[in-house]
Structure formats: C-alpha cells, structure tokens
C-alpha cells in the first residue's frame, strides 16, 4: 500500500492478464495533455489484482479537446464507464507557467475566468453526450516562483492564481454526480514535487509525471474505479494487544499497557484516531482478539486514553476461539460479505493464517513499527466511495443499535413477539434528488437480499425516476432502537396497463429477518392494484451471494411461469401486523 511495485512490473504483467476472466468489468478512457505511457497498463494490472477486468482507451497525446468536441470520436464510440481527463499545469497555464508576471493582476484574474469557462464548456459537452463518470485533475502549485520569497506578498500572484483556479474548478462540480475532481495538487504534496517531476524525463521523453511515480498515480486513480464499482471495503476488524494498544493486557495489566499521550503509547492513540475518522464516514469497526473478555472490555470501557469505545464497535469477538471462526461469525452477525472486510493484526502468524483460510478478507500487513500504523490506513484506497450519504455517516451508530437489537432478540425467543416489541415503521419515499444517490448506492452495494443484483449509477436512477413507465422508490426503516436510514430500494417497470415488472427489489443486510421486505412488497402490490394492474411479474437472478432472497417470491404468493414469477392481483397479500407502513 505505501510501497508500490515498479512500473516495469505492471508493463510486463499486462500480457499475463490478457484473456483471463474476472468478476467485474470496467471501461476506462484516458485523455491527457501529456504522454500517458504506462498508465493504462498499470491500471489494468491493478484492476486485475482486484478481480476487475479493465478495458482501456487512451486518446492520442493532447487530443482531449478534439475527442470531446467531436461527437463521432473514438472516445464516445468506446463507451467508457469512467473517463480521466488529465491536464498538466504547463498546458493549462501556457506561457504563464513560466512568465506569470508578464501580465497584470487584472489579466491574471481574467485568465482564470477564461480557463474555467473553457473547462466548464468542454465538460458540459462531454456530460451531455455520454453516460460516463468524468474525473478531471486540479493543478499543482509549483514551488518555484520568479518572485521568490515575495510571491506570498503578491496580490493574486501565480500561486493564488492556481489556488483560485482549483477552488473554482471544485465549486463548478461540487454537486455533480458525474464529474469528480482528482486532487493532483494533493498528490504532488504527498510525494513531493522533486519526486513527481523529473526534468530529465520531461526533457528527454516529454514525461510530465516521473515514471517511478506512475504506479502511485494509478493507485490514486484506482480509488475512483473502486468507488464506481461499489466494491469499497465496509468493515475493519481489529486485533487488540499490540494493535489498538501496546503490550498484552492479560500480562501487562490495565495500567501496564502502552496507550496515552507519551511515546510509544501515543502511536496507538494516533492509530485509533484515524480509525475513528473512518468510522465517522461509515466504516464499521469490529474486534477479533484472543483475550480474556473481562480484561479487554475493561480497557475499552474505562481506559482514559482509549479513543475507540464500545459504542464504536459493531461486533466484539474477544475470546479464545480461533480467529477464523470469529471472523466468520463477525461477517455473519454484521450481515456483510467476507470480501468487505479488512483485517488488521500485528501478529504475522495470525495474518498468514487469515490469508490462507479466508483469502476473501483483505489482510493488511501492519509494519513492525507502531508509529506507521496510522499511515498504513491513510494510504489505503480500499475505502473509496464516490459520495458519502447520510446513511454512511450514521452507519456505525446503526450497527451499535443493531447489536442491542440482537441482545433483545436473544432474550425474546419468540420471533413474532420480538418483532412486535421492535415497533417497526417503514416510510416509503419516492426517488428524488435526496434519495437518488442512496438508491444507486444500494443497487451497487447490496448483494444478499437482492432479487436481480442489477447495478445502477445515479444517472440511471435519475433517468428511471423521470420516466412515467417506472416506479422508483426506497424505504426508510425505524424502530425503537433508532433509525436504520434508507435501507431498501425498488424499481418497477410498467410493462403495460395490466402488468408491472419488478426490475429491482433489495434490502440492506442490516434489516434482513424483520419482515420489512413484506411491508415494502405490500406497498408495491397495493399501488399496482390501485392502478388497475392484474399481474406483477418478477425475476430471481441467482448470484453467488443472493441465496437469502431465493425463497422470497414463492413465500409471498408468486407462482413460477417459465423464467419468471407471477403474482396475480386476485390473491390478497397481508402485510405483517408488526409493521407500520407509511408513504411520504
């Protein structure tokens, strides 16, 4: 993660992956103002390592304007899922890259206006023409200024001019679901201008990004592919001793472990802070530790310098059971796939054991030096998402509430009584500007309780929602422990006045097993009835993950007819008593 393989590795490996089959597919277009040699190969190999088949289109050198403006261009014929428009500072600034003070402050401001206008028009054409995400980079601020130390005293000098260009660029597409800004300036800051730009390579081969850093650059771009495909990791499972704190609590005792403001304990505090920041964006945290439960939980609950507390942890497996069984139980309890989990453990033996037994889990090699733990997490792109919804921000809290629900369930053996006690309320919402991002996200991420596993981008959902022939909606589920957020989505196509077809019906794993699906289906059936529909057609498309929904249609009274399932409106569908369904 922090160390990348060399570019030659990717260039040579690309031939080996050709013709291999992968689980996911993506089409990537690369448009650049400079030579992009090696980038497509590197991206393809990195994708293959994540079981993604990446097909690339690389536009000719500095032809991005023509490719976008010409509606018959090869770019549009390629039908990319994600396009990267990579423009370097030399190209965008032209002569001003070298001679920013050859013109007045007013002219520099006009220059920014002009460039923003050009970019906006170009991207507008692209966005209207094609259903592809577009990622455009912002511009790095060169450390050199002809004004030297007076640069910072110069009103709208070169540095301010580029900062303004970047700010305006970000603002242009702040609310866009299809255009994203890649923070290239940040990339240069991270690895250093002297490393990213190699004058010799530039002068000799017109390479504007040093070849050594093409893999790092590709790794950053890969984040968008992970986000687009909805394959980001959902959960971090952590060991405790020498991972969340230094030392072994069972031996060193509550006050003997290293955790606090002084080194080396502060390394663990730092690490926990980064984990908490990910929790706040929606990453679930869980514990898988061989330990005495009492010793460990006392630290989690009472240690003055613990950052992560019990409420941040969705699942606790603190016992002497082997870590593989614990891991399977955690995945089961949280209702997430093993391939959504990242495992962090300081012990190389435990890591190896996990890698061999559960290769689906991403087991990260933590360095020996605990001061580098935080960096390992910070440099991972596996948590990348293209947007962060309200549900994401609340996810950690929701999982804690879920743990409490499970505790109630355990103490109430009768399922019907348990469900009644939950006070379940389902609010059906139409697709609108607030719910569309979440509906798309649910179609991209939901695997288990998903009838057809059709993946839809926001633009697709938007299109359906504007089409009279579709009913697109979602459901927010609340109970006495809290709000689960929007956790279900459906897309129904009106085939003809008498027949509707359920294109998509899914439920987040968080709320499975509570009859919620029957409440939502009941809503769809009632709506169909009100519209004079006689038959509802549905389809179950098996995947290797959606077994939980396999029996859903027959259980709800659908009859098999060829490849489809049919519900006749003559039958009456009863929404379970434990549910309150309302329509917003």
């Amino acid at each position: 993660m922090t160390d990348q393989k060399k570019l030659s590795h990717y260039l040579n490996r690309v031939a080996e992956i050709a013709g291999q089959a992968f689980e996911k597919k993506i089409r990537i277009a690369l448009l650049g103002s400079f030579t992009l040699n090696g980038l497509a190969e590197t991206l393809s190999v990195m994708c293959a390592e994540k079981n993604i088949q990446c097909t690339t289109y690389v536009a000719d050198y500095n032809q991005y304007n023509q490719e976008i403006l010409n509606t018959e261009s090869n770019l549009y014929k390629f039908f990319p899922d994600v396009s990267f428009l990579l423009i370097d500072s030399r190209t965008i600034l032209g002569d001003l890259f070298y001679y920013p003070y050859s013109i007045s402050k007013k002219e520099r401001k006009q220059f920014v206006d002009k460039k923003i206008d050009e970019i906006q028009k170009l991207i507008h054409i692209f966005d209207k023409k094609i259903n592809s995400k577009l990622v455009i980079n912002n511009f790095n601020i060169p450390t050199f200024s002809p004004y030297g130390i007076v640069e910072t005293k110069t009103d709208f000098g070169q540095h301010q001019m580029i900062t303004e260009l970047n700010r305006r660029l970000a603002n242009l597409f702040l609310n866009s679901n299809s255009i994203f800004i890649y923070d290239f300036n940040n990339f240069v800051s991270k690895y250093g201008e002297k490393n990213i730009f190699d004058d010799k390579q530039f002068l000799f081969g017109d390479m504007k990004i040093s070849l050594d850093y093409i893999p790092y650059f590709a790794n950053d771009l890969l984040s968008y592919i992970i986000g687009y495909l909805g394959i980001s990791k959902k959960c971090i499972v952590l060991d405790l001793d020498n991972t969340l704190w230094g030392g072994i609590v069972g031996e060193d005792g509550f006050s003997g472990i290293k955790l606090g403001p002084e080194p080396p304990g502060n390394a663990y505090v730092e690490f926990q802070r980064v984990l908490l920041s990910l929790y706040q964006k929606g990453i679930i945290l869980a514990i898988n530790s061989k330990n005495n439960y009492e010793d460990a939980i006392k630290v989690i609950k009472e240690h003055p310098y613990m950052i992560l507390r019990e409420d941040h942890l969705a699942s606790l497996r603190i016992n002497w059971t082997d870590k593989i069984s614990n891991m399977k139980e955690i995945a089961n309890e949280l209702n997430i796939g093993l391939d959504s989990i990242v495992f962090l453990d300081d012990d190389p033996v435990n890591r190896e054991y996990m890698k061999i037994n559960l290769p689906q889990v991403l087991t990260v090699d933590l360095p020996k030096d605990s001061s580098q733990y935080a960096e390992v997490i910070k440099s991972m792109n596996e948590f990348s998402v293209l947007n962060i919804t309200q549900e994401d921000r609340q996810r950690g809290k929701m999982y804690t509430e879920q743990r409490k629900r499970k505790e109630l369930e355990k103490s109430t053996p009768d399922l019907e009584r348990f469900l009644k006690q939950l006070d379940l309320k389902i609010s059906i919402k139409n697709a609108n500007e607030f719910t569309i991002p979440r509906i798309s996200q649910l179609t991209l991420k939901t695997n288990q309780f998903n009838l057809t596993t059709k993946r839809y981008q926001e633009t697709d959902i938007k299109k359906f929602s504007q089409d009279q022939n579709y009913v697109v909606g979602c459901a927010q589920v609340e109970d006495k422990f809290g709000d689960n957020g929007i956790t279900s989505a459906f897309i129904v196509r009106k085939e003809n006045p008498k027949e509707w077809f359920i294109d998509t019906f899914l439920l987040s794993c968080r709320i499975m097993g509570r009859e919620v699906e029957k409440g939502i289906l009941g809503y769809i059936l009632n709506k169909a009835k009100e519209n004079g529909v006689e038959r509802i057609k549905a389809q179950f498309i098996p995947s290797h993950k959606n077994k939980p929904i396999e029996d859903f249609l027959p259980k709800c009274g659908f009859q098999k007819e060829g490849d489809f399932w049919i519900y006749s409106m003559k039958s009456s569908f009863v929404i379970p008593e434990c549910l309150t369904v309302c329509v917003e």
Binding site: K6, S8, L11, N12, A15, N37, D198, K200, Q201, S210
Partner: protein
C-alpha cells in the same frame, strides 16, 4: 555486478537473462522500445542509486553504454 545489471535489464525488458549481452539494445531486443528505454533508465537509477545526466541518458544505445555510464558514476561492474 554485471549479473545485477543483466538481471535488471532482463526484468524490465521481460526477456531471458541469457539473451542479454553488452551489445544488446533496441535493435536486438524487440521489447526494448523507446518507452521501455526510459523505464530502464529510471529503474537503473533507483537500483544503483545514481542520476544519469541528460546527455548520458540520450547516449544509451546498448548495454555497454549503460556499463560505461554507470562506471562514470562510480558503479563498478565486474564480469
């Protein structure tokens, strides 16, 4: 040390070690494209911790040239 150099060239060019000799270059090794030539120089600099000058980089036509320039930077390659 020549082995270390040949290993690196073989790895970058994705050819067997045995196909590399001092006369090897873009004309004898099909994979040795101009781009692979840039990649080779960049990985040589990392491997041997040297920085070639622009003139040296432009001068590389075969393995013997690389040896000569590495030697200029104090890297001794014993056969």
């Amino acid at each position: 040390m020549s082995k270390r150099l040949y290993d690196l060239i073989a790895r970058v060019m994705n050819v067997p070690h045995s196909s590399i000799n001092d006369e090897s270059g873009p004309t004898s090794i099909e994979n040795w494209t101009s781009f692979k030539g840039y990649v080779l120089l960049s990985e040589l600099e990392m491997e041997f911790n040297v920085k070639f000058t622009l003139e040296e980089a432009m001068d590389v036509k075969k393995v013997a040239d690389i040896k000569r320039h590495l030697n200029n930077h104090g890297v001794t390659l014993n056969d």
